[in-house]
């Protein structure tokens, strides 16, 4: 399933992630998932939220810059090898490259959810739909 992810540019120094999180708190934006990746100078915080529009507004108000990206959401069976068998192997077999991934726990469910950025969204959806 497709999902909208918000990416935020953050300088790689103390207090910047806090600044973003405070903005979300002030804007009453609930985070479902967060991942931060970095280079030497800067990082990108990637979030999945309930209300994308409110989140983007909170980010802008905090003076930060945001971009939205379509990512793939896939449920992972709560068992050893779950992510590999249900998601990654089918994608690999179909030649879909995973650029990055992170996971979160869905409220009230045993299963986790993987967020995946892939190079071919359409193909990935087809592949996972077939499984």
């Amino acid at each position: 399933m497709k999902e909208t992810q918000i990416s935020v540019f953050l300088e790689n120094r103390p207090g910047r992630l806090l600044h973003l999180l405070e903005a979300f708190a002030d804007g009453k934006v609930n985070l479902r998932a967060l991942s931060v990746a970095d280079t030497a100078d800067f990082g990108i915080a990637r979030v999945i939220v309930d209300d994308v529009e409110a989140a983007v507004q909170a980010i802008r108000q905090a003076g930060l810059t945001a971009a939205t990206t379509e990512v793939l959401r896939a449920e992972i069976p709560n068992a050893p090898g779950g992510l590999a068998e249900a998601v990654i192997r089918p994608l690999a077999r179909a030649g879909v490259n995973v650029e990055y991934t992170y996971a979160y726990n869905k409220g009230g469910s045993e299963n986790a959810v993987a967020v995946l950025k892939v190079d071919d969204m359409e193909k990935a959806q087809q592949v996972l739909g077939e499984e």
Binding site: Q5, S7, F9, L10, E11, R16, A37, T39, D41, F42, I44, R46, G63, L64, T65, A66, A67, T69, K117
Partner: protein
């Protein structure tokens, strides 16, 4: 020591007579040969015979770096290409370089003033001169080279870079004289220390450092770390290159070779002449140059003049160490940099100028240039590779435009300080003028 005793110690009266004689010829030449000057003279209601004495000099029009840019590349030349034998260049205010040409006479004159420069610093025949100024379009390398050869010293044309190899040569060849930028001198000291070489134990005894401003504290540091006497050398490629002025053994101001380069100090805003001792913008008129004679060239450098006879015996007026600039030009590793050059490159990226800041610092004794660029929604993407590619592309474009490497760093929106809505473009953490 004095190379040209006749000219360097002549009485001020004789000197002024010589300057007046040479100025008349130079003014007549530019009026006749350079359309730009004829127009500028006419605009002021002047013809070539309009000035009657040296005191009338302030009536002549100024020349600025913008005039050189507007007449790029050779529009201000007073001789045809057939008479030119050399071309040098420095960075201009935008994409185009400032181009300077020389006749054989000019090259000879340059070698002569550089021989005076090195002699004033104590260099003589028998010295081994390690020249780490860049050879090429930059005037530093060949300027010192010709001066040292004229004296009869042995020159090592090292040029810049390959610091470890430089240290090996300094040590093994028994170099006695070091020529480079002051910041590179400190870099050499630092790398030598890492290599376990104590430069104080080498034969080095004299250093002539220039092409960038440096403080009195930096001089102490260089002298202590390398174990030599450090002399400040002043010049600019528009006038000739290095060889306009130099500190003698007294290290108390830089003697200007006034028989070739006529100095004035003016109030930077109004252009009004200022008396001796008052700080203002240095203005230079070439008195003997053929290919590119310049009348009242605004150097942009702030200093003051002292005409008192020096303990060394020279009667040539001394200028204080440069204390600043009238414009936003930066000198980094001896290279002139204007923010407008950087803007030209940044504009190519997205067509709009991002907020940016130029940060100069001294890291490992070398000037370090960083350009901070505020990220915007137009530029930002979730893709790390694209952002890093953007940084790399900008870095290589800047290297092309500036001639030195600059590190590009993306920063958050609105993180660059603004005063009255305008970003402060330059943060210089070096203590260059201190």
């Amino acid at each position: 020591m004095i190379w040209d005793r006749e000219h360097e110690t002549m009485s001020r009266t004789d000197l002024q007579q010589l300057q007046w004689k040479r100025l008349q010829v130079q003014v007549a030449t530019v009026y006749e040969k350079v359309p730009f000057y004829r127009r500028a003279f006419h605009e002021k209601g002047l013809t070539s015979g309009a000035i009657r004495s040296l005191a009338d000099l302030p009536e002549l029009p100024f020349t600025t770096k913008y005039d050189l840019r507007d007449n790029y590349p050779l529009g201000l030349a007073a001789v045809p290409v057939e008479r030119m034998v050399r071309l040098h260049a420095s960075s201009g205010t935008t994409g185009k370089a400032t181009v300077v040409t020389y006749t054989a006479h000019d090259i000879d004159l340059w070698a002569e003033v550089m021989a005076r420069t090195l002699t004033a610093a104590g260099v003589t025949k028998g010295d081994v001169v390690h020249n780490a100024h860049g050879y090429g379009l930059f005037t530093g390398g060949l300027g010192f080279h010709y001066g040292a050869e004229r004296i009869g010293a042995l020159v090592l044309p090292m040029s810049g870079g390959q610091t470890k190899r430089q240290i090996m040569f300094l040590k093994d060849m028994g170099s006695t004289v070091l020529c480079c930028t002051p910041s590179y001198a400190l870099r050499l000291a630092e790398v030598a220390e890492e290599m376990g070489v104590d430069l104080r134990e080498t034969d080095l005894r004299v250093g002539t450092f220039g092409a960038e401003p440096w403080s009195a504290r930096m001089r102490e540091e260089i002298q202590a770390k390398i174990g030599l006497k450090a002399h400040d050398v002043y010049g600019l490629c528009e006038i000739v290159g290095p060889g306009v002025a130099v500190e003698c053994e007294c290290q108390d101001g830089l003697h200007i070779f006034e028989d070739h380069f006529l100095p004035e100090i003016v109030e930077p805003e109004t252009g009004e002449p200022l008396p001796y001792g008052e700080p203002g913008e240095l203005v230079l008129t070439t008195l003997t140059k053929e290919a590119l004679p310049l009348i009242r060239y605004r150097t942009g450098d702030i200093t003051s003049l002292n005409p008192a006879v020096c303990a060394c015996g020279r009667t040539l007026a001394r200028m204080e160490k440069i204390s600043g600039r009238t414009d936003d030009m930066l000198i980094v590793r001896g290279i002139n940099i204007f923010p407008s050059q950087i803007e030209t490159v940044l504009l190519q990226v997205k067509g709009v100028l991002p907020h940016y800041q130029i940060v100069v610092d001294r890291r490992h004794a070398l000037d370090d240039l960083e350009i901070w660029i505020e990220i915007s929604d137009e530029v930002f993407t979730d893709d790390f590779q694209r952002l890093e590619a953007l940084e790399r592309d900008l870095q290589s474009e800047l290297q092309n435009a500036l001639g030195i490497s600059a590190r590009v760093k993306l920063v958050e929106p609105k993180s660059i300080q603004r005063s009255e809505g305008k970003a402060k473009r330059i943060i210089d953490r070096r203590d260059a003028y201190g």
